[in-house]
């Protein structure tokens, strides 16, 4: 069994690599889109098999544990549904001439390399390898954000590139500091970068070095999470790239960086004399939440609107993990999963809407539920879910975050609830115009793939009404691990 599950980890990493090589060589875009879907499906199956098989022993480079399994499966699932959405999205882009066949070859190969980078970041047991994987995922998304080669796309890619590189450079400095802290205790060489070894010996590390390291890691990876003072790349990258990339950026790449932060948070928690990481994360989380909530009111571009909503939700998640404790961690995990599913569903919908209407400008999109009921209602349901109205899963996780805050730090609940309500108002305000109101713009029928968006939304609402007990137990277990 051990050999088989090792194969499952290998499959998660190798399938995307092989697929990327094939896709780079394949000139036919229809075949390529199909292969992209097939490869993503296989990756998802391999990820799911991790649940049933025995885990491999953690090696020097790879690790599967209760924490990262959640991230891997979520990543593979959204990766798969996005590839289905992408197949119908790019067909339209090709028809309208925004992308050429050679662009698409590049696009598909990059998509799989990005999946590889994200999966590698999740399964890596080595903080150096994790850093390389995050960098790889960043680079591929930069290239895809700039794929339209317009002024706006290139500027967005450039901004993302420079800010992302600076963030990643700071994260590397933090990684080096962690190594420096570990080296006197664990000894030189690869072992001092292996996460399982680090966590076992963290109590003996120099706490002062760990503290400084965490500040750099939080700033560095926090840039990629899109936390408030460092978020400037995020709205541009979401708005100007192809919509499938916006969906994976919001739904997955932000989670990768968040996962890295969580790993290092655990490391500091294992060292009794190191600073409490909670207040730092709570501050950054709340700042992002309130800032993004205000920014939501001024948006005119629909993809930018939802990009700011991603900053807002990442703020809530980081806040929840910063609070710590079983309940808040549980809420944070649940919120992360629900946000990934809902936000990618919204981007699937918005992608088709922007294609039908030929614009991303909110004022030019009106009365969608009349002209395109399936898309319009998907957007309504998605926004209702993301704004945190019952019975969506996000309502439940936000409720848990707020109630645990009230129980433990009532003063923090004030800005938290204020931010959530502010964002709620902004989203509903925009939604009423876009979804209802007098129809405006093109009424041509949409050639959309409805299955990805509706299946995501169905999952979100199902989770809000009934969470299966095994899932709850699993999340509780992971929440306890997170301390």
């Amino acid at each position: 069994m051990t050999a088989f599950s090792l194969d499952a980890v290998a499959a998660i990493l190798l399938i995307p690599v092989v697929a990327a090589a094939l896709l780079a060589a394949l000139p036919n875009y229809r075949l390529a889109a199909g292969l992209n879907v097939a490869a993503s499906l296989l990756t998802l199956l391999a990820a799911l098999s991790l649940f049933v098989t025995d885990r491999p022993q953690p090696g020097q480079y790879l690790l599967v544990d209760d924490l990262n399994i959640v991230f891997i499966v979520l990543n593979a699932f959204v990766g798969f549904t996005t590839s289905v959405f992408s197949a119908s999205y790019i067909a339209h882009e090709l028809d309208t001439g925004r992308l050429t066949a050679s662009n698409l070859r590049f696009y598909h190969a990059m998509y799989q390399i990005m999946m590889f980078g994200m999966n590698l970041a999740f399964v890596s047991n080595n903080i150096g390898l994790m850093w390389v994987a995050v960098e790889l995922a960043t680079l591929t998304t930069v290239l895809m954000v700039g794929i339209y080669r317009t002024h706006e796309a290139l500027e967005a890619a450039w901004k993302y590139f420079i800010l992302g590189s600076v963030g990643i450079a700071l994260a590397l400095f933090g990684t080096i500091l962690v190594y420096m802290a570990a080296q006197p205790v664990v000894g030189e060489g690869t072992n001092a970068m292996v996460w399982t070894v680090l966590i076992a010996h963290a109590a003996h590390f120099d706490p002062a070095l760990l503290n400084v390291a965490f500040v750099f890691l939080l700033l560095g990876y926090g840039t990629k999470v899109g936390l408030a003072p460092l978020h400037a790349w995020l709205p541009d990258a979401h708005a100007e790239g192809p919509t499938p990339i916006s969906a994976v950026l919001s739904g997955l790449l932000l989670n990768v960086a968040l996962y890295a932060v969580l790993r290092f948070k655990l490391l500091l928690a294992a060292s009794p004399e190191a600073i409490a990481t909670g207040p730092l994360m709570i501050t950054m989380g709340l700042t992002s939440l309130v800032f993004a909530a205000f920014m939501l009111y001024r948006r005119r571009d629909i993809k930018r609107l939802f990009a700011y909503s991603s900053i807002e939700h990442m703020g809530i998640i980081v806040f929840a993990f910063g609070m710590g404790g079983p309940l808040a961690n549980f809420a944070g995990l649940l919120h992360m999963v629900m946000h990934s599913l809902t936000k990618s569903a919204i981007f699937f919908t918005v992608g088709h809407i922007a294609q039908v209407k030929g614009t991303q400008n909110i004022t030019e999109i009106r009365g969608l539920t009349e002209t395109h009921p399936a898309l319009g209602w998907a957007l309504v349901i998605g926004v209702v879910a993301i704004a945190g109205l019952p019975p969506s899963g996000i309502f439940m996780s936000e409720f848990l975050v707020v109630s645990s805050t009230f129980a433990r730090h009532p003063f923090l609940a004030v800005p938290l609830v204020f931010g959530i309500l502010l964002a709620f108002g902004a989203l509903l305000l925009r939604l009423t115009g876009v979804a209802f109101g007098e129809p405006r713009g093109s009424t041509a029928p949409a050639e959309a793939s409805y299955i990805p968006m509706y299946s995501h939304l169905a999952l979100v609402f199902a989770a809000g009404i009934y969470l299966p007990p095994p899932l709850v137990t699993w999340f509780q277990h992971v929440a306890n691990l997170l301390g």
């Binding site: 390898l129 930069v142 002024h151 420079i162 590189s165 600076v166 590397l172 080296q183 400084v212 930018r304």
Partner: protein
């Protein structure tokens, strides 16, 4: 560790900080790139010295990358790009040179105070390397924020990355250093190609990042 090996390592790392300072007051692009080439050469010497005293032969690879790629290939490439773009005029610094130098001194002081305090337990060579490395990283960031020109921002980023390589080689026995320096070289190559593409595609008339701000999606 005897006194001389320590002194040489110290001299080279300190030299790197000094060259970082020289970057702050360059007001011409060509001069800035030449200073960067010097920065890369000093880095290569410093890494080679670390490879020698730690008896870590793989670090020679990192030194060679620094020497060939960063001290020769990239500066020559950037020179060409600048000539093609016809932007070998003064750099528009966003902040004056005086305040920039003062800020630089402040940053170096900050990193010395911070790193020397928190690493009191570590081995003295690694300690000073880390303090110098953080100074170089912060000075690199300072170069990036005080310049508005895309090419000089790239130079700032590369000097920042040199600081990281210094820190990584100073941490004795750190694995993956070579891989990380290769990964960074690829990243930089992408950035440089990116700058070049801006022009090749003729989407922008200028590589002044300020001009890019006009294309912010919100002002459409």
């Amino acid at each position: 560790m005897n006194g001389l090996t320590f002194d040489i390592a110290h001299l080279l790392a300190g030299g790197l900080v000094l060259v970082s300072f020289m970057m702050l007051y360059q007001d011409r692009l060509f001069a800035l790139i030449n200073v960067f080439a010097v920065h890369a050469i000093v880095l290569a010497l410093s890494v080679a010295w670390q490879a020698y005293i730690q008896d870590a032969h793989h670090l020679y690879v990192t030194a060679a990358i620094a020497l060939i790629f960063k001290a020769i290939v990239i500066p020559v490439g950037l020179h060409r790009i600048i000539q093609r773009l016809g932007i070998h005029r003064d750099i528009e610094t966003a902040v004056g040179i005086g305040p920039t130098m003062l800020a630089g001194i402040g940053l170096v002081t900050l990193s010395m105070v911070l790193m020397l305090r928190v690493t009191s337990g570590a081995d003295p060579l690694a300690r000073e390397d880390l303090a110098f490395a953080l100074s170089i990283i912060l000075l690199g960031l300072l170069v990036m924020v005080t310049r508005r020109n895309a090419v000089s921002q790239v130079v700032g980023f590369m000097s920042l990355e040199n600081g990281l390589v210094l820190a990584a080689t100073g941490a004795k026995g750190m694995p993956l250093v070579v891989e990380i320096s290769v990964a960074f070289s690829i990243l930089i190559a992408f950035i440089v190609i990116g700058v070049f593409l801006f022009r090749i595609r003729e989407r922008f008339d200028s590589v002044d990042v300020g001009a890019l701000d006009d294309y912010r999606g919100e002002h459409r």
